[in-house]
């Protein structure tokens, strides 16, 4: 336990000094995707359901926040809050329709529903269609702190990430999290102990959707842009990849996975290998599924246990 706490403190210090060495917008992007992957992992890693439609929530958060920043005069924290609520509400509806399904059927239902969302945003006038919603202003946090400043923006994103990460960590280690764990371990037994398992899955799904929305809302502010990329099924696939690479069902795995994938995309897309990004991603995907099932963090934990445990 102490070791874990020390690790968290070290990572936090790293996150605090990082913008003085690396481009803050890039770091903020990293944190947004890390939060997105953590939210997704709450479903895959801790409920055991693979959602293939989480882009719908990322995108919804983004569009709602973007629209509010452009049209409502709300301060950014409120625009983000409402974007998160909107994604959570969509998640609550989608959750009702999907959590009864299992395995591949759950993945298919979530995919189908997210495609529905994609086409709505493609056609709806307020999203800007193919062009996206551009020139979203970052505004002043609480009406005071100017977020146009990248360093300010970064620390705001860091605070949001820490809140989201804490909430997920707490959820996993809560009375609710215990029930989730029991359901994942033996669902019929949980039912026979009187738990309406679908209600628990639904709450987890709604929470996961809201946090994915929080990531999307924040991301829109960082890039001052909300676009169809965020609701495309590619994005739903990417978050699966991030989580697998980092380690499904480990609390830090998605953070590491998001870090690896986003960094790679950034470097590759600029360089000569730009055209091969998808092939390389596909290769990593295959490698993870075949050889490193537990992901980077999972494999590391195993090694740690073998050598020091």
């Amino acid at each position: 336990m102490m070791k874990i706490n020390k690790l968290y403190v070290a990572l936090l210090l790293l996150a605090i000094v990082a913008p003085f060495f690396l481009y803050p917008v890039f770091l903020a992007k990293l944190l947004c995707f890390a939060l997105f992957a953590c939210a997704f992992n709450l479903m895959l890693g801790y409920v055991g359901l693979l959602s293939f439609g989480h882009a719908a929530f990322l995108g919804t958060g983004g569009y709602v926040t973007g629209w509010l920043m452009m049209n409502s005069g709300l301060t950014p924290e409120l625009a983000i809050l409402l974007g998160t609520v909107a994604a959570g509400a969509l998640g609550a509806i989608y959750g009702k329709l999907s959590v009864k399904r299992e395995g591949i059927y759950f993945a298919m239902v979530t995919l189908a529903l997210s495609q529905l969302v994609f086409f709505v945003y493609l056609q709806a006038p307020f999203t800007g269609g193919e062009d996206g919603m551009q020139g979203v202003s970052r505004g002043h946090l609480f009406g005071v702190i100017d977020l146009a400043d990248n360093i300010n923006m970064y620390y705001f994103v860091l605070a949001i990430f820490l809140f989201g990460f804490w909430l997920i960590h707490r959820t996993i280690h809560s009375p609710f999290g215990q029930v989730l764990k029991a359901i994942r371990e033996n669902e019929p037994r949980a039912t026979s102990l009187g738990y309406n398992v679908n209600d628990y899955k639904w709450v987890a799904f709604t929470l996961s959707a809201a946090l994915a929305g929080l990531a999307g809302s924040t991301k829109t502010l960082v890039f001052q842009l909300a676009s169809l990329t965020d609701v495309h099924w590619h994005m739903s696939g990417e978050v699966v990849l991030m989580t697998l690479v980092g380690g499904v069902g480990t609390i830090l795995g998605p953070v590491v996975g998001a870090g690896v994938i986003v960094t790679m995309q950034n470097y590759l897309s600029g360089g000569e290998l730009g055209n091969y990004v998808h092939i390389i991603m596909g290769f990593i995907f295959v490698l993870c599924v075949l050889a490193f099932r537990s992901g980077i963090v999972g494999e590391f934990q195993k090694m740690w246990k073998r050598n020091f445990g």
Partner: protein
């Protein structure tokens, strides 16, 4: 009129695509009894359990629990009403600790099971009660062990402790001694006897020695229908029951194995204390 029955089924039928797995079963379980449901493989015993707990929906018929019609209720609601089942394959939460397994059952009534914003340390107030329950099935020493590491017999004992945590009116046990060595069989049988005080148990059991030792009443199921009912002496004397059991070579063999196990058990009573 039937206040003595904890559970009753009326004309219970379950069909799978034209095949009748449970055929017009009228079962009556008297309060306070250990009631055994026996029958050859595939007779429909597990299917009856699945119907009683609504893991399967009856094709037709009625289920009454304490004179209340529960036929339309959902599985989790039936459990909350007081009918708690175990499964033919041991049903534990393997990667929770032994104590946590029991605590999950205690937790529901606390009303905090949806509280995702609170620390799980609030559950520690249940530890004492969970530990008591573990003690009552002889698992006190294993409270902190990972459940996956327990022996098969201990897992079944843990299952019983977890079920007891819900203080059910009616416990449904599906072959609690299946796949056990004879020492574990004896221990689990004793445990069932012990926990039956003050409650009603309906159990599926292949081991006739255990049935003879425990059951107040026996219902014999064959091809989905009730063949006969009564106490052990009545049922075991019935030639149709013998025939049903001797019907296939496999079950004959099993019978012999059970008998052998039963005999062996009596010889090794002294060793048993050390095993669990």
């Amino acid at each position: 009129m039937s206040a003595d029955y904890v559970l009753e089924t009326r004309n219970l039928i379950k069909e799978f695509k034209g095949f009748t797995a449970v055929d017009d079963v009228n079962l009556q379980v008297t309060r306070g009894h250990i009631h055994a449901l026996i029958g050859p493989n595939g007779a429909g015993k597990t299917t009856v359990f699945n119907l009683l707990t609504k893991f399967l929906t009856p094709t037709s018929g009625q289920i009454l629990f304490n004179d209340r019609d529960i036929t339309a209720m959902k599985p989790a609601a039936i459990a909350r009403a007081g009918v708690v089942r175990s499964f033919q394959i041991s049903a534990v939460f393997p990667h929770l600790s032994v104590l946590e397994n029991v605590r999950i059952a205690l937790q529901r009534k606390e009303g905090n099971s949806f509280h995702f914003w609170r620390s799980q340390s609030v559950l520690n107030s249940l530890n004492d009660r969970a530990f008591e329950l573990l003690e009552s099935v002889g698992l006190g020493a294993f409270a902190d062990a990972q459940t996956v590491d327990l022996s098969y017999g201990r897992k079944r004992a843990l299952e019983i402790a977890t079920t007891l945590a819900l203080e059910p009116d009616l416990m449904l046990l599906d072959e609690p001694t299946q796949g056990m060595g004879h020492e574990d069989v004896g221990l689990v049988a004793d445990l069932i006897k012990k926990v039956s005080a003050g409650r009603t148990i309906l159990m599926v059991e292949h081991n006739l020695h255990v049935v003879s030792k425990l059951a107040d009443r026996i219902t014999v199921l064959q091809r989905g229908a009730i063949l006969t009912e009564g106490d052990y002496a009545t049922v075991s004397a019935d030639p149709r029951v013998r025939e049903a059991y001797m019907g296939t070579a496999a079950s004959e063999e099993q019978d012999r194995a059970n008998a052998a196990a039963a005999e062996a058990k009596d010889e090794t009573v002294s060793k048993e204390g050390a095993e669990v």
